[in-house]
Amino acid sequence: MELNLKLVKGKYAFSFILLTGILLGLLIISLGIGALEITPLEILKIFANHLGIFETPVDNTMELVIFNIRLPRLIFTMLIGASLGLSGATLQGLFKNPLVEPGIIGISSGAALGAILVIMVLERFFPEILGIARQWFIPVFAFLGGIIATIMTLKISQFEGKTKVTYLILAGVAMTSLASAIIGIAIFYADDAQLRTFTFWTLGDLSVATWDKLAILFPITSLSVIVLIILAKPLNAIALGEAEAFHSGVAVEKVKFVAIVFSALAVSTAVAFSGIIGFVGLVVPHIIRMCFNADHTIVLPASAIGGACLLIFADIFARTLVAPAELPIGVITALIGTPFFIYLLITAKKKRLI
């Protein structure tokens, strides 16, 4: 029996190494591909030069493209992909519902609403506050919007001190509709330039990555990722049944609360910096569960890595398909994600996995 378990663990360890290998491969490929042609040798030279391994003349423009445009964008994409994949996996596990996605419980649209309120209200009535602070105002308010929408969803869905899943999803649907309605009013009053900023929010955009933004994104995302992965074991216990989990000493309500708040933190930070990017949070955990099993100690970290992989993969297409222009990232994730998801649904149905 014990031997058997070790064998199983060994198989997962191999898959983990494989997944990490895919991520590393994608990182290297993505760094080498872009509108500007830079050979792998040139990239090696640029890095060697930068790290002071050996001095060699490199093209100044290429160096700037690598260090100021591609590298920050790559890390940005990886962090956002990981946030979306991990939050999706956490929420699906927590609510034992394969349809739950960060968008469903109101996080994404709350964050988008926060951003749009800045564009519409602050810009119209307090234009003097903005100026340089503008690029920081939008992410901060998006984050506030996401957190507020999530807390309201949670409050509405609490019944006799407990969070019921059905109520939670219905409350999420209600919050999303409310946010959409307010966004609709905002669009009606928007002038041309503001409207275009709005489309940027709803389709997602990774080209806005800079080192300054990473300085904020990195610590928040790392914190959320660590907290959520620590929650894997209590989530496993909850998956077996809340009453059983409670009796085996898991603080069920506390775990739920922490899981939701940190998922909200990760997702609204992602939305704040890159707009709403759909499908990653829904598709990635499904793929991971079908490849591995439903054990959260595996699904959660694997979804983080998988989310990063999917988003980096999608971004390669977004950056190169219509070069020198760019496609919105949300369009690509849906184009790649949907057919794969349908394929998985059909095979899962045949195998009676769902």
Binding site: G34, A35, E37, D191, D192, R319, A325, L327
Partner: protein, 278 residues
Amino acid sequence: MNKIFILTIFIFSCLSISAQHRIITAGSSSSEIVCALGYCEKIVATDRTSLYPEALQSLPSIGYRSNISAEGIISQNPDLVIFEKEYVKAEVISHLQATGIKTIVVTQERNLEGIQERIEIIASALNKTSEGEAMISEIKKSLKLIQKKVDSTPSKPKVLCVYARGQGNMQVGGKNSAFNLLDISGAVNAVPEIEGYKPLNTESLIKANPDYILFFDSGLKSLGGKAKVLEIPGVMQTTAGKKAQIISMNGILLSNWGPRVAEAAKELFYLTHPEVVE
């Protein structure tokens, strides 16, 4: 000594000419100004709105507004990039400036001060200051002639401006829309209370009772032509509908406030004042 001096000047002037031989523009008004200053062949890539002169349409497209990326621009190896304000993201401009590519940002204002500023800045970036001044005075001269016609024509028809992209997607343009040209063409906007754009509403259409309904050529085509416009509910209850005064102009010419602004104003004046003989 003198020869060396002349030689130095010669080398420097060669350098300054060859230093600006790959231009990228974003914004159709700026593209037209660069072309009008004689640098059309130097444009190596442009944005999706720059459709005139037609040669620009065959160039690589850097995209449209928020999907314009810094690396895409850099990959075309430009040495001068001209943006209209708020047309691209702030990150794109800062990335370009970091690479040392000369990047200038001109105003996007669609009015006379705006076009004057655009021409001045672009002309000075191209070392064509005097040509720029000549262009501005030429425009002013032509606009004065139109102003004279406007002043001597008593009628100030009400024009409803519609931005259409097919049935069910019609926006009315009010103040500060793509239809500002009305202000200098002897006509008035039928819905001055609207700021920017609002969806077309049948009752407001009847209430505004325009004398003319103005479209972009492409917008009128997307609706299926004049006859189809007359079938839009409410149109037949307006003066424009009863007299079948449905007019259209090339969208770029009408809206971009470029070097052809006087030509555009003249066309719009005659479209809305058929009683005046040229």
